[in-house]
Each structure stands twice: as structure tokens, then as C-alpha cells.
């Protein structure tokens, strides 16, 4: 089946099987391997991307359902000039990643949280990350990075 989809500002045209997931389309058709598959039951959140501006687990969307939509993956988050998104910067500063595998999903979820809650308290951040598993960091520095990013974006009026 044909899927027309805009990914990271580029219009794409893909041939997929009807059972293919959005995560399959991104990884296998477009070779955007920053979107990771860590489970198959929508628990780990490593495959989180933005679909029409909202964070979704791309393993829970059929590729054909994403026809006509606008997707941003971790590869498309930094500016065209390579300038990292404030969330990416905060993750590095706060040592919010170790093995890096959950990181793309965590960053995409973090960005989405600040879209809906620009100044979240710690409890809100922890609750918002319920759908993203990390086995390395104990979440401590991930929560801190999102808080630091929120403060910084608020100060800049982003």
C-alpha cells in the first residue's frame, strides 16, 4: 500500500505492507533508525515520535493510518543548522542518558510534555514519563533535565 507522509519536513512516498507499523516505515523504509523498538506492547516508549505535533508510540500506529500526516522523529528535532533542541542540550548537561537506547523516546516525550505543561513540577514530569522505560539512569537525571529545560525555555519565552 502507498503512504504519503511528511517526515522531518520532507514529503515521502512509501510502499508498505498493510500490517506495517509507523515504526517499521520510519526504520525500514526511510532508514530513520533513531526511533527504537524496545518492546511490542506499547510499554517502553523508545519509539515515541511526534505525529501532527503530538507524541505517539509509533509502534501503536499502523503506517497506513499515518497517511497524509506530518511526523517529526528524533533526527528532525535539532535545527537545520545542527543546533540542538533545548531538550537535547539539557539531557546532555544533566547526564540524562547512559546507553542512549531509550533517549530518543524520552526526549520526544519530554518535548511534548512541555508543549502541554510548560512549567511542570517534578511529580507531573514523573507521571508524564510513565510510558517511557529507562533501565540505566533511574530516571533521576531525566526528570532533572526536563525541569532544567522547562526553566530555560520559560526564561527565554520559547
Amino acid at each position: 500500500m502507498r503512504v504519503h507522509i511528511k517526515v522531518n519536513q520532507v514529503q515521502r512516498d512509501c510502499e508498505v505492507e498493510s500490517r506495517a507499523l509507523l515504526s517499521d516505515l520510519l526504520r525500514d523504509n526511510l532508514r530513520l533508525t533513531g526511533t527504537h523498538r524496545g518492546c511490542d506492547t506499547a510499554q517502553c516508549g523508545a519509539c515515541t515520535v511526534h505525529l501532527d505535533g503530538v507524541a505517539v508510540k509509533s509502534c501503536q500506529v499502523l503506517a497506513v493510518q499515518a497517511d497524509g500526516s506530518d511526523v517529526v522523529t528524533i533526527e528532525g528535532l535539532a535545527g537545520a543548522d545542527g543546533q540542538l533542541h533545548p531538550m537535547q542540550q539539557a539531557f546532555s548537561e544533566c547526564h540524562a542518558l547512559q546507553c542512549g537506547f531509550c533517549t530518543p523516546g524520552m526526549v520526544m516525550s519530554g518535548v511534548d510534555l512541555l508543549r502541554t505543561h510548560p512549567r511542570p513540577d517534578t511529580a507531573t514530569i514523573r507521571e508524564a514519563l510513565e510510558g517511557n522505560l529507562c533501565r540505566c539512569t533511574g530516571y533521576v537525571n531525566i526528570v532533572e533535565a526536563i525541569r532544567v529545560c522547562a526553566d530555560r525555555m520559560a526564561a527565554k519565552g520559547v
Partner: protein, 783 residues
């Protein structure tokens, strides 16, 4: 490379520069095994046994072979016909002077009898992963189910079904430490004896990147390449080449690229690693295997699974006289990897940081119809710590003493160091009493009664627990190489392997500090048997000590090798040159940086050419004598008796990691370890059905992985009590949290629940278990 580090700047030990690794991971450009692609890549999927124990009567793969896209279907009989060997254990107790045990050899594919749910029976290779999975359903296996045993008490019972004919009573092997007669005498003379029976729950590492692998084969020169998510590529090559494929090691290259967490579970190769290589030879195509999460949980080596009877003898003043333990440890269906390591450490570290005049401990390994167990973060140290710390808290309760006070009376004092345990360790350094007081202060012990009262007023139960531990950081020797290029750039070639531990940052930091090479000019290389001459990978918290001391030796040798070149460049005698403040210095204030000397070492003609080509050196460090990281963790919990929910209100960790190389990274390691320890204490358990051996916790829907809102804010403090047995003075940090946390959390839970009459609870302390225990205690109280 690293935005906050100037190109020319040196980074020092004790700094926390932005990690070298971060940029690629933050922009989605990591290269994990599943991210690799090769022309004409095909996909393989193993058929897993649905039975815990069954005889294979017949296998019919003819329909699967005819299925669309299928290239080959391999079975256990094919493995036998082609002379493939099995996977041996890394070592057994008899290899270290212990009694002889039963050594299994796990086949690549099982031909005759499956021994756990998830045992591999066949391997299907097809053009696409979906086609391979579709074809799996067409394989017809006729199984004759056999009775299965899952739990240690069942496996060790009289008349239990036998899993291996050569291992009567399902006993695999045993280890024993201490002096039985002296311990018996000490118990006879004791004023008080505390007894506990403890279960250490089976858990799964569940790295967020699953194990996966790609095999390639070249018929031109009969060579293989394995790309696999492993912690130890050279070790994998050794086992796969020598024991399984039976080829020369030069015929097999193993690459472990970016690896998304390991925790010991990825320390050694698995049957799938052999399957993709074998299938690549059979099909002439690169073969990729990526499991589902359920397949991972069913087939990844699990951790822990121990049942212990432990006793502590004390005198009238609360001084420990002796500890005795009799323990059973489940190995699952096969002895895999370094399964014997946790078996051993689970005994050897029981005496912990205390003066224990007599000790006797026995740990017997049993086979069960479950997935094999192996080392999991801590590997035996969490089990040992759990035994000792639960005993101390229970004894304190029985004696009417404050648990901290009982510890004070028994801790090994700094003036007693070096201290020899009855289990063969010599602790070189540490300040255990100091750590205890610091942890108590940092966790606001003084105001605890106030908090307890407030909780009580709200109908909540508040408890506090200590988890004190000591462990051994690192095992075996290893090698690090430093190699300059002609432009003065420096490459670290590492026998160790980072899969989250930040080697590319920390090791670069060390050599930058020692040699004065700009941090940004250091490149870190690992994980490829063609690029690194030899190594043993990373597990057992071995990298900081082995890596840094091996690098120190290599750096010193580079300095010495560069000296004559520096003398030539400064036009002075070699003896007049010294390396200080990160520069070669000669007479008259002349100075040359190491990078200039390295460039000169590459000049192809003229007088400098007489010094040879290039500037390179290696260092080797051995973990004998070992180091002993230790820590005191304090946990405070609040339990709602109406729901059984345990909430961790505060968690304090004071860790003696020796010299701190990078504080931010050390703290990150503690955080992650503590979260895994909290997971084991409150949430996690691999559950098999006791009758059928079916895996019940077989997905992330069923297995209790800790989530962000399960983990508290932590207060962490690093104590630098320099290690005396290695020049850099480092201990280790990777396993600290996982070792201290289960004991600290469960001691806190018990402290809270004693108020309502609950005396014993096993991990994980889930709301249901806690609530049930409260109800049982209520009924008991009324009757």
C-alpha cells in the same frame, strides 16, 4: 565533538565534562545492531519450546521450508550432523579447587529434550522477518511433555523429576566457605540467635535494547562476522569459535557496536549468535535476528533466584559471634555464562563490613525447568548483602536495639584494616563507621521520630532501613592501548566495553589529564575483535579500576618512549628532559607538548626516523589484589495499610568508590543501580507457573519494570577513601546501588510493618503482598 570543551583544552580527573557519547544518541544517530543494514540481508527467527520439559518425538519442517520467502530451516539434528558444539559454562567450582559439579553443554538447537519454555528448537530464515515468523507456525513438533520443576524447594525434594540424568537430585554443584566446627561452637556459646528464611526473587535484566545479532559469512576465505549486542566481543569470539563453530578464532570477527545496556545479561554469547552465523554460511546471505520483548524475557539469562536459611549468633552486648547460611541457588536448565560467580559471591560477601569471628556458608546450585540464570548487576553481592543486612535488622529488633547502634558495635574500624575475612578477602581501605554516621546525618535521622509521628497521625506506617554493603569491583586482567597518529591525535584502543558506562568520556579524561592531550583530540575505540588486539569486555564493575590503571601504565610508557624524541627536538641530552605539568621540559625553560613529540615520531626520513615509527604503548592491569567499593544506603518508606502501597519517601546513598574520576557519571551509576535495586525490592519478579513451568511474567505488560514515578529523589554522596591496592586509587561504582538498595528498602518495609504485627515478607513487596500480610497479621492478632 563536545560543545563546552574548547578544542585545545585539557580535561582533568574529577571534572564532569559533557559526555563524548551524547551527541550521536541525542540526535538518533547511534548504531545499535538492529540499525545496521547490509545488501541482501535476510531474517532469522528461532522456534522456542512452549513446554518447560518435554521429549521431542519428531519435528516436521517440510511445510515451513515451502513457505513464501523461506531460505532455510535448521533443526537440532542439523546441528549434530554438521558437528556444531554446545555452549559450556565459563567456569565451574572445580576449576577453582572446589568440588566437582555437573557441567552442561547447551546445544545451538535442541534435538532430543527441551528443558525450559524458550529452549530453542528450530531456526527459520526468510527474505523478510514477517515471512520467517509466518513460517514458524508451519513447523510441526511432536512433544511428549514431562513433569517440570520450577521452584528450588520442588527441584530439591525427594522424588523430584530429573532434569539431567548426570545430576542426581537436580544438584549441579556447590561452594562452601568458612569453618563449620568453629561456627558450631560459636552458636553453642551465643546469648542470642537470630534466624531468617529469605527468598531472593528471580529478576530479568531487561536492557531496553534487546539482545539481537547479525551473522555474515564469506565463502571466499571461509570467514564469519558477527554483529551482536554483547558486553564482551572477544569472549564471545573465543566461545563461538572454539566450542560451537569449531573454527580458528582468526576466521571469526565479532563486533559489538553501540549496545543499549547489558547489566551482565549480555556478557556472554547465546545460541542465537551461533544461529545467525551458521545460517549465514548455509544461505550465503547476511542473517539478522531481532527478538520480540516476550522472546527476550523467555530467553535472556535471568538473575538471582536464591533460597537461604541464615542465622546470626550474638553475645549479650550485641556483638556478632558467628553467621551461618545454607542456601540453594537456581541455575535454571543449563549452566550458562558465569553462573557460578553469583553462586560464589552470594556466600563470600555475607560477613560484609562487620567483625564476624566465625562464619560458615554453603550454597548449592540446582537445575530447574526455567531459563538459565547468570550474573545480573551485582552478581551474588546483592544476595549476600540482603542476607547479612536483614539478619542485623532482625537481630536489632529482637534485642531491642536501634539497628544503627547494632551496626556501630560490629563495624570493622579503620584501624583494623587491612582486614581478612573468613571468606578469603583482605579489605584494604574504607571508613565504615564514618559512612554510617554520614548516611544517618544526610537522611535526617534526628528528625525521624517527628516524621514517624506525623505519618502515624494520618494512619500511615513509616519505616526506615539501612543497607550497608561491600563488594569486589572487577575481575580478571585486561589491556588498554594508546596510539598517537601523525597529527598528534590520540586513540584509546580498549579491551573493555561501554554499553552506557561512559568509557569514551572518562578514559579520554584520564589520558588528557596525564598527557596534556586536548580532550577533543582523544578518540575511543572498542568492541571489534579486528581492531582491538584482545580484551574481556565490561561486567562486574571492572572497567574503572582495570581500565584506568592499564591506561596509567600505557601513559607512563608513552612518556618514556617520547623522552629521547623530546630531547632531540630540544637539542639537549635525554637525561635533562623531564615530563612535568603535562609537558616535556628541558634546560633553559624549553618546553614541548606530547602532541608535538608524537608528530615528530611519525617523520619518515632524516635523523628523527631513527627513533622508529609512531608512538604507541599498552598497559595491562590485573584485579589481583582486588578493590572493595562499599556504601551505606538509608531508605525511608511510608506504607498505606489500607492499600498496601509502599512509597519510598527518601533514599540516601553514601558510597565509597575510591578516587572519583567523574562525579556526574559516578552519581548516574548510583542512581541507575538504586533504581534496579528498588525494582527488585518492590516490583520485579520473573514468575513461572509452579505446576507447568509456563512463563507468566512474559512481557512488559506483566513484568514490573520500575517507571519514573516509582523512583524517588535520591541524595547521593561520594566518599573518596582512596584504594590502596592500585596506583590510581579507584574502586568501582557500577553495581553499588543494585547491591545496597534491596536490603535498605526491605529493612524499611519491615520496620514499618512490625507496628502492625507483620514479621516477614519476601521481595517484591507489591501492594497485594503487603496488604495480604497486614490482613494475616490482623487475624493472628485477634486469635
Amino acid at each position: 565533538m563536545n560543545p563546552n570543551v574548547q578544542k585545545s583544552s585539557v580535561v582533568h580527573i574529577g571534572d564532569s565534562p559533557r559526555r563524548v557519547e551524547d551527541h550521536k544518541f541525542l540526535t538518533g544517530r547511534g548504531q545499535y545492531v538492529d540499525d545496521l543494514d547490509f545488501p541482501s540481508l535476510v531474517y532469522g527467527v528461532p522456534l522456542l519450546s512452549p513446554h518447560a520439559h518435554a521429549r521431542i518425538v519428531s519435528i516436521d519442517v517440510s511445510r515451513a521450508r515451502q513457505a513464501p520467502g523461506v531460505l532455510c530451516v535448521l533443526t537440532g539434528q542439523d546441528a549434530i550432523d554438521e558437528g556444531l558444539g554446545g555452549f559450556p559454562p565459563l567456569f565451574m567450582p572445580e576449576d577453582m579447587g572446589g568440588p566437582k559439579g555437573y557441567r552442561t553443554s547447551r546445544p545451538v538447537l535442541v534435538a532430543d529434550r527441551v528443558r525450559h519454555v524458550g529452549d530453542r528448537v528450530a531456526f527459520v530464515v526468510a527474505e523478510t522477518a514477517d515471512q520467517a515468523r509466518d513460517a514458524l507456525d508451519l513447523i510441526e513438533v511432536d512433544y511428549e511433555p514431562l513433569p517440570a520443576v520450577v521452584e528450588l524447594s520442588d527441584a530439591s525434594a525427594e522424588g523430584a523429576p530429573q532434569i539431567w540424568e548426570g545430576a542426581p537430585g537436580n544438584r549441579c554443584c556447590m561452594v562452601m566457605f568458612g569453618n563449620e566446627a568453629a561456627t558450631t561452637d560459636a552458636f553453642a556459646a551465643a546469648a542470642h540467635v537470630t534466624k531468617l528464611e529469605l527468598l531472593n526473587n528471580r529478576v530479568s535484566a531487561n536492557s531496553i535494547e534487546p539482545r539481537c545479532a547479525i551473522g555474515r559469512y564469506s565463502g571466499v576465505d571461509d570467514t564469519y562476522i558477527l554483529y551482536s549486542s554483547l558486553q564482551n566481543p572477544h569472549g564471545a569470539r573465543q566461545m563461538l569459535a572454539q566450542a560451537v563453530l569449531k573454527v580458528e578464532e582468526i576466521q571469526l570477527r565479532v563486533v559489538s557496536p553501540d549496545v543499549g545496556g547489558g547489566f551482565g545479561m549480555k556478557a556472554d554469547p547465546y545460541p542465537e549468535d551461533a544461529m545467525v552465523l551458521w545460517a549465514a554460511r548455509r544461505t550465503g546471505r547476511p542473517v539478522k535476528w531481532v527478538p520480540t520483548r516476550s522472546e527476550s524475557i523467555a530467553t535472556d539469562n535471568h538473575g538471582r533466584d536464591q533460597k537461604v536459611n541464615a542465622e546470626m549468633a550474638l553475645d549479650a552486648e550485641g556483638r556478632i559471634l558467628a553467621i551461618r547460611m545454607r542456601s540453594m541457588h537456581s541455575f535454571g536448565a543449563y549452566v550458562m555464562s558465569a553462573a557460578v560467580a553469583p553462586l560464589t559471591f552470594a556466600v563470600r560477601f555475607v560477613p560484609s563490613v562487620y567483625n564476624v569471628p566465625s562464619f560458615h556458608g554453603v550454597n548449592v546450585a540446582f537445575f530447574t525447568n526455567t531459563c538459565p540464570t547468570g550474573p545480573y548487576r551485582g552478581a551474588g553481592r546483592p544476595e549476600a548483602t540482603y542476607v547479612c543486612e536483614r539478619l542485623i535488622d532482625q537481630a536489632a529488633h529482637e534485642l531491642g536495639l536501634n539497628p544503627a547502634e547494632l551496626r556501630r558495635r560490629n563495624l570493622i574500624r579503620p584501624d583494623q584494616l587491612p582486614y581478612s575475612t573468613h571468606t578469603g578477602f583482605v579489605y584494604d581501605s574504607g571508613n565504615f563507621p564514618g559512612l554510617l554516621e554520614k548516611a544517618l546525618r544526610l537522611s535526617d535521622e534526628e528528625s525521624y521520630p517527628l516524621r514517624k509521628g506525623e505519618s502515624s497521625n494520618k494512619g500511615l506506617l513509616r519505616g526506615r532501613g539501612i543497607g550497608f554493603f561491600i563488594e569486589q569491583g572487577g575481575i580478571f586482567n585486561d589491556k588498554m592501548t594508546l596510539r598517537f597518529d601523525a597529527s598528534g591525535g590520540l586513540t584509546i584502543l580498549s579491551g573493555l566495553h561501554s554499553h552506557g558506562q561512559s568509557h569514551a568520556t572518562v578514559f579520554a579524561q584520564l589520558v588528557s589529564d596525564w598527557l596534556g592531550v586536548p580532550f577533543a583530540s582523544v578518540k575511543y575505540l572498542q568492541g571489534d575483535t579486528d581492531k582491538i588486539s584482545f580484551g574481556r569486555g565490561t561486567y562486574a564493575a571492572r572497567s574503572s579500576m582495570i581500565g584506568s590503571n592499564a591506561l596509567r601504565i600505557a601513559a607512563d610508557e608513552l612518556i618514556a618512549k617520547g623522552k629521547p624524541i623530546a630531547a632531540f627536538l630540544m637539542n639537549c641530552p635525554k637525561d635533562a628532559v623531564e615530563f612535568k605539568d603535562r609537558l616535556y621540559s628541558g634546560p633553559g625553560g624549553k618546553q614541548i607538548p606530547m602532541t608535538e613529540v608524537a608528530k615528530a615520531a611519525h617523520i619518515k626520513a632524516g635523523p628523527l626516523a631513527s627513533f622508529g615509527v609512531g608512538l604507541e604503548a599498552s598497559g595491562v592491569w590485573n584485579t589481583d589484589p582486588p578493590n572493595f567499593p562499599n556504601g551505606c544506603h538509608v531508605c525511608e518508606v511510608v506504607i498505606d495499610p489500607e492499600t498496601g502501597v509502599v512509597e519510598i519517601e527518601s533514599y540516601t546513598a553514601v558510597d565509597d568508590v575510591g578516587r572519583v574520576l567523574n562525579p556526574q557519571i559516578c552519581e548516574g551509576q548510583v542512581h541507575g543501580g538504586v533504581a534496579q535495586g528498588i525494582g527488585q525490592a518492590l516490583l520485579e519478579q520473573v514468575v513461572y507457573d509452579r505446576e507447568t513451568g509456563q512463563l507468566i511474567s512474559g512481557s512488559f505488560m506483566d513484568y514490573g519494570m520500575p517507571r519514573a514515578d516509582d523512583i524517588p529523589v535520591m541524595k547521593t554522596q561520594l566518599e573518596e577513601v582512596t584504594c590502596k591496592t592500585n596506583p590510581v586509587g579507584v574502586k568501582a561504582v557500577g553495581e553499588a546501588g543494585t547491591i545496597g538498595a534491596p536490603a535498605a528498602v526491605m529493612n524499611a518495609v519491615h520496620d514499618a510493618l512490625r507496628a502492625v504485627g507483620v514479621t516477614h515478607l519476601d521481595m517484591p513487596a507489591t501492594p497485594l503482598r503487603v496488604w495480604n500480610a497486614i490482613q494475616v497479621a490482623k487475624v493472628r492478632g485477634q486469635s
